[in-house]
């Protein structure tokens, strides 16, 4: 443990290398998967396990160092800035997909509809599965072959919005409790937040099954299906990660981690959760409502 000046500098660590090996294995396995290589799931599993192992190891060290008080305020600022910039990179990632949605919807589809010489009879509009895609039915109607319908905003999606927004509130309550060192309230609010998170995912899963089995709405349903599932899918993936992180944080709260004036791990998770929440609001407006 070498501490230079007032800034904590960690010892050499094997975990980054393990992380890279895990990432490589996972990526390699994924390439095999999409190219129908038999062993692909196993390779991916190994990659996933290495990454899980790495996370336990790496985060374990970090938690230990943190609880041992090795991170002073100066280090804490680095972590905070790091997290904020990481979230910014995620914003840009989603930005790419939102950009694709706006472009397709407001530019590409009207252009296709204008080119009568190639696409006679396609008159655009949104939602659409494109000139060769399935035919659109009113929202939430059961679709037959060659048809699809969309998920209306005012069913489960609006409930999901309420759920996620409340979870953002509850995680803030937990934060206040932590700052006042009310440990029970902290834990209770955390548990509620985690439950809301998983409830969201559960409802989202029901929606997906509904879409695939009844509405004829799949990833392959032209640009509507593509943008819909990629945006909500990546969001759902982030919610999953966020909910797991929150669960871990809740357990750490139970174990007595975090102090009223020193709880970066908690805050990072909360920020991430707010970010995921904000993205959902964007999704709700631009994917479901408009």
């Amino acid at each position: 443990m070498s501490s230079n000046g007032d800034y904590y500098l960690p010892d050499p660590s094997p975990w980054p290398l393990v992380a890279s090996v895990g990432l490589f294995t996972l990526a390699g396995g994924f390439v095999m998967l999409v190219n129908d290589v038999n062993v692909a799931p196993w390779v991916m599993l190994i990659g996933g396990l290495i990454i899980a192992f790495m996370m336990f190891g790496w985060f374990g060290v970090v938690v230990k160092e943190s609880e041992a008080g090795q991170y002073n305020a100066h280090v804490d600022i680095s972590f905070r800035m790091g997290m904020l910039w990481f979230i910014f990179s995620e914003v840009m990632f989603f930005g790419g997909f939102f950009g694709a949605l706006f472009y397709l919807r407001n530019l590409a589809i009207p252009w296709l509809a204008e080119t009568d010489i190639l696409w006679m009879g396609f008159d655009g509009g949104w939602p659409t599965a494109g000139p060769m895609g399935a035919e659109l039915l009113p929202a939430d109607t059961v679709a037959g072959p060659g048809q699809f319908s969309t998920i209306g905003a005012w069913g489960i999606p609006v409930w999901n919005t309420i759920i996620l927004l409340s979870s953002s509130v509850t995680v803030t309550f937990a934060h206040w409790a932590l700052k006042k060192n009310q440990r029970t309230a902290l834990f209770v609010w955390m548990v509620i937040t985690v439950i809301l998170g998983f409830l969201f995912l559960y409802l989202q899963a029901i929606e997906y099954i509904h879409a695939y089995t009844e509405l004829g709405l799949t990833l392959g349903t032209g640009v509507y299906g593509a943008t819909f599932f990629m945006l909500t899918g990546f969001h759902g993936f982030h919610v999953t990660i966020g909910a797991i992180i929150l669960a871990v944080i809740a357990i750490r709260c139970l174990m007595g981690h975090f102090k009223p004036d020193h709880h970066f791990g908690f805050e990072a998770a909360a920020w991430y959760w707010h970010f995921v929440d904000t993205v959902w609001v964007g999704l709700f407006i631009f994917v479901y409502v408009v």
Binding site: S2, S3, N4, G5, Y7, L9, P10, D11, P12, S13, P14, W15, P16, L17, A19, S20, L23, F24, A27, G28, F30, V31, V34, N35, I77, S78, F79, M81, G82, W85, F86, F88, S89, E90, M92, F93, G95, G96, F97, G99, A100, Y103, L104, A108, I109, W111, L112, T128, A129, G130, P131, M132, G133, L219, G220, G222, V223, A226, T227, M230
Partner: protein, 526 residues
């Protein structure tokens, strides 16, 4: 990894030995060294591919490689040079220099720093491995335009995943750099006192965080279009191939400034040193850099003037692109003004820096010509563009890295390189570079398209000259490798701590070579 803590008392040199030192290190100098070695290796791998391209283009007809392999070589050459040579190279310089320049003990997030690096060898294994798959490597150009990139086999998927990994590496590295600069400055090191290399890297890091995730999104859409039935780029499902280009270039144009801003920073360090005079117009340099960064996000479609955008779009992107000449011009003028009435000497780093200013401007001016929409209809996708970007990339970025190598190598190794070899390397590089790429302007104007393995006979002479130049250029680089090895192995004269008479800044106040940990107690900057 329980290496015996025998050195615990000497906390200045606490590290495992042998390979484990490099695999597990959290030290910015070790990591910087690894980045730089990696970059040099990739420069040679990409360079060998360039030489294969030039060998095929030596004369008309198909000789050495078949058209598929040729396309793969072009694609790989660019991806490796950009993501393997230039970006890691600059991150290597940042790792070594930024903590020393701002008086910090290390990077802010040292373990993550190690991870940023160690992703890269794996990513490039995946990328290079694609060449050995049944369908061959990616053959759609480094721009990976859909729907061409929808065709092709597992090699394309490997490329996509490799790009994801490089993206993670770059974003993490960039976060680290920003945090280091914002949070680790020594007392008194105000923002407007930061050396320009640090400033340019701060802004570059911002560009990286903003641009790389967008590229990740673009290639993800490609992947799902290839394998999961999405229709982002398929008109039958309402998609648009041009959408890919928009997303790609939204990343791609900031990317080219990611590749040049640190080079501007390097030049801004070197020219004052050898002019023995402070940098002219420090403030305007900072603002110009920020201005370039801002503009870089609103000019992307100048790569796509021929796709048939609406007129208003073409005009907007033309005007915005032209505007970039203003802040870039400010930089060029500031450099010239820095030299003006200085006391100039011509050691190798200075020679390279002058060449960068001179040759980059040629590339910049041809860039300006490309920005003129009607004229771009003639230049687009010809060797005129190839000439443009090699002038900014090779004589901008790569030669700036060479300048930086000669400038800082004595500091890092404690050994002064051979000035004679350095100058030989400089002149050979500069001359062969121009022989290689200047004729490509004429080829482009005369109508030779890029990315073709064979050409009509009217283009023979200039291609021949260009190929000869390329081989000379490649061979000349061996001198630099020799110089570096000499210094690293301690076979050269000892260097002083100050190294250069006119050098200013914290890095020159520590020993050459600097101790493993510098600035454990922060220096005070007045």
């Amino acid at each position: 990894m329980s290496v015996a803590h025998t050195e615990t008392h000497d906390h200045h040199d606490h590290r495992p030995s042998g390979v484990m030192r490099w695999l597990t290190t959290t030290n910015h100098k070790d990591i910087g060294t690894m980045y730089l070695i990696f970059s040099l290796m990739m420069f040679f791998v990409g360079g060998v591919m360039a030489l294969a391209i030039r060998a095929e283009l030596f004369q008309p007809g198909l000789q050495l490689v078949n058209p598929e392999l040729f396309n793969s070589l072009t694609t790989m050459h660019a991806l490796i040079m950009i993501f393997g040579a230039i970006m890691p190279g600059f991150v290597g310089f940042a790792n070594w220099q930024i903590p020393m320049m701002i008086g910090a003990p290390d990077m802010a997030l040292p373990r993550m720093n190690n991870w940023s690096f160690w992703i890269l060898p794996f990513a490039f294994t995946l990328l290079l491995g694609s060449l050995f798959t049944a369908g061959g490597g990616p053959a759609s150009g480094w721009t990976l335009y859909a729907p061409l990139s929808i065709q092709g086999g597992a090699g394309v998927d490997m490329t996509i995943l490799a790009i994801h990994m490089m993206g993670i590496s770059s974003v993490l590295g960039a976060i680290n750099i920003i945090v280091t600069i914002m949070n680790m400055r020594a007392p008194g090191m105000h923002m407007m006192k930061l050396p320009l290399f640090v400033w340019t890297w701060l802004i570059t890091a911002f560009l990286l965080i903003a641009a790389m995730p967008v590229l990740a999104g673009a290639v993800t859409m490609l992947l799902t279009d290839r394998h999961f039935g999405t229709a982002f780029f398929d008109p039958a499902g309402g998609g648009d191939p041009v959408l890919f280009q928009h997303i790609f270039w939204f990343f791609g144009h900031p990317e080219v400034y990611i590749l040049i801003l640190p080079a501007f920073g390097i030049v801004s360090q070197i020219i004052p040193t050898f002019s023995r005079k402070p940098l002219f117009g420090y403030d305007s340099m900072v603002f110009a850099t920020a201005g370039i960064a801002f503009l870089s996000f609103i000019v992307w479609a100048h790569h796509m003037f021929t796709v048939g955008m609406p007129l208003a779009g073409e005009l907007f992107f033309m005007y915005a692109t032209m505007l970039i000449a203003v802040p870039t011009g400010v930089k060029v003028f500031n450099w010239v003004a820095t030299m003006w009435r200085g006391s100039i000497s011509f050691e190798t780093p200075m020679l390279f820096a002058i060449a960068v200013v001179f040759l980059f401007t040629i590339g910049g001016l041809s860039g300006l010509m490309l920005a003129i929409v009607p004229a771009d209809f003639q230049y687009h996708d010809t060797y005129f563009v190839v000439a443009h970007f090699h002038y900014v990339l090779f004589s901008g970025s790569i030669m700036a890295m060479m300048a930086a190598t000669y400038y800082w190598l004595p500091k890092w190794t404690g050994r002064m390189y051979s000035e004679k070899l350095g100058k030989t390397h400089f002149w050979l590089t500069t001359i062969f570079f121009n022989i290689t790429f200047f004729p490509q302007h004429f080829l482009g104007l005369a109508g030779m398209p890029r990315r073709i393995p064979d050409y009509s006979v009217q283009f023979s002479e200039f291609n021949l000259i260009s190929s000869l130049g390329a081989f000379g250029l490649g061979l000349s680089q061996l001198i630099m490798v020799y110089v570096i090895i000499q210094c690293v192995r301690g076979r050269a004269e000892k260097a002083t701590d100050q190294v250069w008479e006119g050098a200013e800044g914290l890095e020159w106040t520590v020993a050459s070579p600097p101790p493993y940990h510098t600035f454990s107690t922060p220096p005070t900057v007045r």
